[in-house]
Symmetry: C2
Subunit: 354 residues, 2 copies
């Protein structure tokens, strides 16, 4: 799961806060990274632009310069959140979806784990492994007039190649976990061809010659997406690693976040062969933007997840341990978790414990 | 919302138990209908075949004769549940999806309401109004070889016509409820064309000339599907009527069912201009098939919903009141609700109260 660590002199991190509370939580994650000190290389940061707000000012949601610096001068990145226009805006397209594709960050890895006694109910400890480049996110859409009104069509693309690589990633992650179970999420009772291919390709992963039997001890399960969401709420303990096409993964990770009390706790990384980008699962939260009360923990955890993916296990673990302590003590929490503290106060509390 | 009731001498009901526990709960719903007696017309039943089990025996999942009798000799129907093959089976296609299309049952109406103190948490009282004929359910899929492996594509169809009629249905239902609120569920931040059309068409419904301002007091909200699922779990009280494209509606209704304690409680109707078919939201439940412990309440409630849709308000209400009493008393419940009673015992308890 982690990218080969050739000893690095320095770690170059692109910071893309983008919109809304992204601008409040990315600086928090930066501070957490800086606090780690000796367990990771010297850090270099690039401040980069993207987002809907940028688009409304400049006509560009994702400047070429941002992509270039990420590609050529960064080892990894942290992305904040993007606002969605409340109506279709000509020429605007989500920069996060574009970045995932541009950098071929094919796996969106979203661990959801409750800390201590879960206020949301039963303990939860699962990872959503979401395919991140295709499904309905290829955004091939058309619209034509007809006698009865307009007709719009979107293409849902599922390839064997992308299904296989996300399947391998899911098995790889399962191998590192205690339960060692992969559940394929699909809707092949309706989408027998596309989801049929997804499911069949992933089922075949353990028998691939290049895998050489290393997943033989991973249990393989499957669930139809609608009943997967139902069971997620009633029996979250049945899941370990859930691997899903893009859109189901999008929905499932929000659903799982509800179980641990707040989207403000759930981190993710967008991972490719050569690049990794941390990103909190929450959105830009226009309702609380600028109030200084955004929960920084999802972004901080995303930084930790990114470090571990790069091979800096110890650095990542130190950040996570600090975050978990702050949650368990329950004294310095933002309002989404029932607390009264500000973003800054939570960051301070975490930094003290790193 | 209800179909014009021209005084009927008799009500002709097609019964399609199909697979698994469908065969246990449809007879239960039939008994409940028979118990209503004087508030509805004389009942005539047609026993009809469909399902995956039928397919494995005869090569046909949905016989022409079933469709013909529903079309020509029935006023309405009750459908049980279908099993999904665990692998793609050549020539098999889901009969429920086919029936919805064949009979143009364009609205799948799924009320989810907790009774008494909700064991699942906060009280829930919402209706999922799911478009029932298009989206990815058009099942237009292709698969082609490529240099890097097979590539499969599915078409997601969203038309103005279908979006408008499901939108009208949602407003019509909202008008009859206390809260009078419609929330459009979409993902137009990614699917700006297809979901853009869905959203825009429904937003325009209150201003249609033929509507004549009758929805002016209905509040219109919207939510992106992923955060809609998140908020559904955390704040179910924010929803009244949720209107969604087919697949989101499928997932949302299972998610909402989790909030009221069991899929075994949630009814639905598939409604068209000229026909209505009740259908419990649960599946064929192969794990408990034949054990006599399937929860019959979703099927019984589906029969009540169907009666009300046909204009037999009083008959429907009597069934629902009986079901609610049985749930509130909590003494005769199937295992999915934490009880120890059999299907038959629950049916008996309901019949006594009708
Ligand atoms: C903002 C949106 C395009 C994005 C997605 O759908 O992937 C978000 O919901 C996410 O989960 O990262
Ligand atoms: C069985 C399946 C085809 C069906 C659907 O996806 O519509 C079911 O999940 C439902 O909700 O009625």
């Amino acid at each position: 799961r982690s990218m080969a660590t050739t000893a690095r002199r320095s770690l170059r991190i692109g910071l893309v806060p983008a919109d809304g509370i992204g601008r409040e939580v990315i600086p928090a994650a930066k501070k957490a990274l800086e606090a780690v000190g000796s367990d990771i290389p010297k850090l270099e940061f690039h401040d980069l632009l993207a987002g809907f707000e940028l688009f409304t000012r400049t006509g560009t949601a994702l400047p070429d310069e941002t992509i270039r610096i990420l590609r050529e001068e960064s080892d990894c990145a942290l992305f904040g959140a993007v606002s969605s226009p409340s109506r279709k805006v000509a020429g605007y397209s989500s920069p996060i979806v574009a970045l995932r594709k541009e950098l071929d960050l094919y796996a969106n890895i979203r661990p959801v784990k409750s800390v201590g006694a879960n206020p949301g109910g039963k303990p939860v400890d699962l990872v959503v492994v979401r395919e991140n480049t295709e499904c309905l996110y290829v955004k091939q859409e058309t619209i034509v007039p007809s006698e009865t009104g307009r007709e719009a069509r979107a293409t849902r693309l599922i390839t064997e190649r992308a299904s296989r690589r996300i399947g391998k990633m899911a098995f790889e992650i399962a191998l590192q976990r205690a339960r060692k179970q992969v559940t394929i999420i699909h809707k092949s009772n309706v989408l027998s061809v596309t989801d049929g291919l997804f499911r069949e390709t992933i089922r075949a992963v353990p028998r691939l010659p290049e895998v050489g039997g290393k997943y033989d001890n991973v249990r393989l399960e499957e669930q139809i997406v609608d009943s997967a969401v139902y069971r997620l709420f009633r029996e979250p303990e049945i899941y370990d690693v859930m691997v899903a096409p893009n859109l189901y993964g999008d929905i499932l990770s929000d659903a799982a976040a509800a179980l641990v009390g707040s989207l403000g706790l759930v981190p993710s990384i967008n991972a490719g062969e050569h690049f990794v980008m941390g990103e909190p699962v929450h959105g830009s939260a226009p309702d609380i933007e600028g109030k200084g009360i955004a929960n920084p923990l999802a972004a901080i955890r995303s930084a930790a997840l990114m470090l571990r993916h790069l091979g800096y296990q110890k650095g990542g673990d130190r950040i996570d341990a600090a975050v978990n302590q702050v949650i368990e003590e329950g004294e310095v929490l933002t309002p989404d978790l029932g607390g009264r503290s500000s973003t800054d106060e939570v960051v301070e509390a975490v930094l003290k414990k790193i």
